[in-house]
């Protein structure tokens, strides 16, 4: 090797070595992915983690000319832990993006850190409407409860349901679901007989289900966080509510694709509204589901698609800013339009929330498995929580 070339290489090496000191980020962009990998919400973490890995396997680890490194941290859905982990990621790891957030309290606790450090925060799961208002740096790629609930209330009235009872889990997203179902249902001329709440940590639904039965509504509207659906469906059937002529309508959280198959026949015919079903027709989704199932032993659910699209939003934005972070990156996330496995999606530039199609689905058995089969759609639904 000629001497001059060796010298050039040495200089280049020295510059590269010095670069990280001068410029903290260097050639890598770090994404701090905070997920509940253990605890009761672990299925959410597992789904999103798998989806993020799938995205990187399909699209490489380069975006905006930099290497993208994902750091996964487990918060077990405990908000204090999410906040502490976010702090560590921002201060020690100097992450460019915070992402993940399995439950609303975790996202809410982290939002102030995103604001103070001017770090874009991509919410991939939590669904309370107010999260995007907690910090101007929050961008959401999952869905909001009002978004999924209002179409359900519309459908119910159109299909002859006049009297309804709502049953929600006693926390943020539950209040959203209850409020928007109630107002939309009554706006359309329906009558709410009662609004019931059930504690998050008490899975015996006997008393509330008995109450519903005695109230004799046409339908029971349910929101429960991903994971409690199976238990609920079983008790619903055992108490004979289906035989008493009470229809079960729900948001898609209850008939979560991840658990749907274990619920058994009682889930058949349940009408629900959501933004994603693994059975969504179309080539984009088929490709996504096939690749996901090839890499994992389970079916992708709406959490997985939130994580997958979250990565897409981050990659697109990094490409646009050439790897720059902070407010530039945030601005590049706003207004993105793309074709997700769930259908066409827009990140609203004003609210930083997702605008997407909401599907009305029915649980059916196909090829020996239970699926949420879509039969109606509302195009481009904005979060009703933001339309004041």
């Amino acid at each position: 090797m000629p001497n001059s070339l060796r010298r050039h290489l040495l200089i280049a090496g020295a510059v590269l070595a010095a670069a990280p000191c001068a410029h903290a980020q260097g050639d890598t962009v770090k994404i701090g992915l905070i997920l509940p990998m253990t605890g009761p919400q672990a299925s959410t973490g597992r789904q999103i983690d798998a989806a993020v890995k799938l995205w990187q396997a399909q699209n490489g680890n380069k975006a905006g000319g930099k290497t993208v490194q994902v750091i996964v941290k487990d918060d077990a859905a405990v908000p204090d832990t999410s906040r502490r982990l976010a702090q560590e990621l921002v201060v020690n790891e100097k992450v460019t993006v915070l992402a993940g957030f399995g439950v609303t309290p975790a996202a809410m606790a982290t939002a102030p850190i995103a604001t103070q450090s001017k770090t874009p925060m991509v919410v991939m799961a939590a669904g309370t409407s107010a999260i995007t208002e907690a910090s101007p740096f929050v961008v959401r790629t999952s869905f909001t409860l009002p978004q999924a609930t209002v179409p359900m209330a519309d459908w119910a009235v159109k299909n002859g349901i006049k009297k309804a009872v709502s049953l929600v889990a006693d926390f943020g997203p539950g209040f959203d679901a209850e409020k928007y179902f109630d107002s939309q249902f009554r706006l359309n001329g329906g009558e709410m007989l009662d609004k019931l709440r059930t504690p998050l940590r008490s899975p015996d639904f006997a008393p509330v289900l008995q109450k519903v039965r005695d109230l004799k509504p046409d339908a029971l509207f349910v929101f429960l966080p991903s994971g409690q659906g199976a238990q609920f469906m079983k008790q619903f059937g055992e108490r004979g509510l289906d035989k008493a002529g009470i229809k079960l309508i729900a948001t898609g959280d209850v008939t979560d694709d991840d658990q749907l198959n274990d619920m058994g026949d009682v889930a058949l015919g349940v009408i629900n509204s959501h933004h994603y079903s693994a059975a969504h027709p179309g080539a984009t989704n088929k490709k996504f589901v096939d690749a996901f199932q090839a890499a994992n032993k389970f079916r992708p659910n709406f959490m997985a698609v939130g994580g997958y699209d979250g990565m897409r939003v981050i990659y697109n934005a990094l490409n646009a800013t050439k790897g720059q972070g902070g407010e530039a990156l945030l601005n590049a996330m706003k207004g993105q339009i793309f074709e997700s496995p769930r259908g066409p999606v827009l990140i609203d530039a004003q609210t930083r929330d997702i605008v997407q199609d909401i599907y009305i689905r029915k649980v059916e058995r196909k090829d020996g498995q239970l699926w949420n089969v879509e039969f109606d759609v509302l195009k481009a639904v904005k979060d009703p929580g933001k339309l004041k």
């Binding site: 059930t198 008490s202 899975p203 015996d204 008393p207 509330v208 109450k211 994971g227 238990q231 079983k234």
Partner: protein, 290 residues
């Protein structure tokens, strides 16, 4: 109304079976075992693994859950618990809560942390309905099954404790281990048996309750408070105390969630405070018991 009462009784019976082992170790052996819920969880998971992965029938799983957790209880009593009997209560609490956390982490690692569901056989999923209107009594076969099993167990245990030689040895060993040992009672073996049966009952309760209470690795922490309330309210010196306390709590919990859903889960605590103000020793307790 009657349906609610029935649901409450079933729930109470379940609490009774789960908490009984704790009442026995706490009241009779004077040992605070906060790891009790871990045995219940073990029973639940034994049921799930046998039924779901190995296709065992439901009824065959229940005795296995009892026997295996009892064996685990005996093993742990022999190795870990026995040296703790003489230690102060704080040491016992710290030791057993540590065991609980280890059990939670172990199950999380072995089985995964998602909630498990039990597929009951069809004959337990039927529902009987008697009467009309407000006095209609609706009973799920499974809850009826729980009530029957628990009543049988309560009667059997009471008989063993009050009538048999083992029962009187146990009571003697508890009242004064030194004198009892001097009289030739094998105190260690009596304690070992008692502890094993208590753990086995927890395991059986966990297996029976997996369907109604739900089952995930945080089970011991989630229900520990309920078990302790049953023991505190019922007093720990007999079987009747925890039985009555568990029934009262179960019925109050179900009724409370039905009639005043806003207060929901809080009713149980109000009731506990009220009862303990009225009878600080618990509903049934021997005066002067340690």
């Amino acid at each position: 109304m009657l349906t609610l009462l029935f649901d409450g009784i079933a729930y109470g019976m379940l609490l009774f079976i789960l908490a009984l082992g704790l009442a026995v170790t706490m009241g009779l052996m004077n040992f605070i075992n906060l790891a009790h819920g871990a045995f219940a969880m073990a029973g639940g998971y034994i049921l799930i693994v046998l039924m779901q992965r190995h296709g065992w029938p439901f009824l065959a799983c229940l005795p296995v859950a009892f026997v295996l957790t009892a064996a685990a209880g005996a093993l742990l009593e022999r190795t870990l618990y026995r040296p703790m009997y003489g230690k102060p209560h704080l040491d016992q609490v710290l030791f057993s809560i540590g065991l609980t956390f280890m059990a939670v982490a172990a199950v999380d690692w072995l089985v995964g942390s998602s909630p498990q569901t039990v597929q009951l056989p069809a004959w337990l999923r039927v529902r009987f309905e008697i009467g009309e209107g407000a006095w209609q009594l609706g009973m799920g076969a499974y809850r009826l099954f729980i009530v029957a099993v628990c009543v049988a167990l309560a009667l059997g245990l009471q008989a063993i404790l009050a009538r048999t030689r083992f029962g009187s040895r146990l009571r003697a060993a508890v009242d004064d281990p030194r004198v009892a040992a001097g009289l030739g009672i094998p105190v260690n073996r009596v304690f070992l048996m008692t502890f094993a049966v208590g753990s086995g009952l927890a395991g059986l309760g966990g297996a029976l309750g997996a369907d109604i209470l739900g089952l995930d690795p945080t089970f011991p922490l989630k229900f520990m408070v309920y078990f302790l309330i049953v023991c505190a309210v019922g007093g720990t010196s007999s079987i009747t105390g925890p039985l009555v306390a568990a029934l009262v709590l179960g019925i109050a919990d179900v009724m409370g969630k039905y009639y005043v859903p806003k207060l929901g889960a809080f009713i149980v605590y109000v009731l506990m405070i009220a009862i303990l103000l009225w009878r600080p020793q618990g509903l049934f307790s021997r005066q002067g018991a340690r």
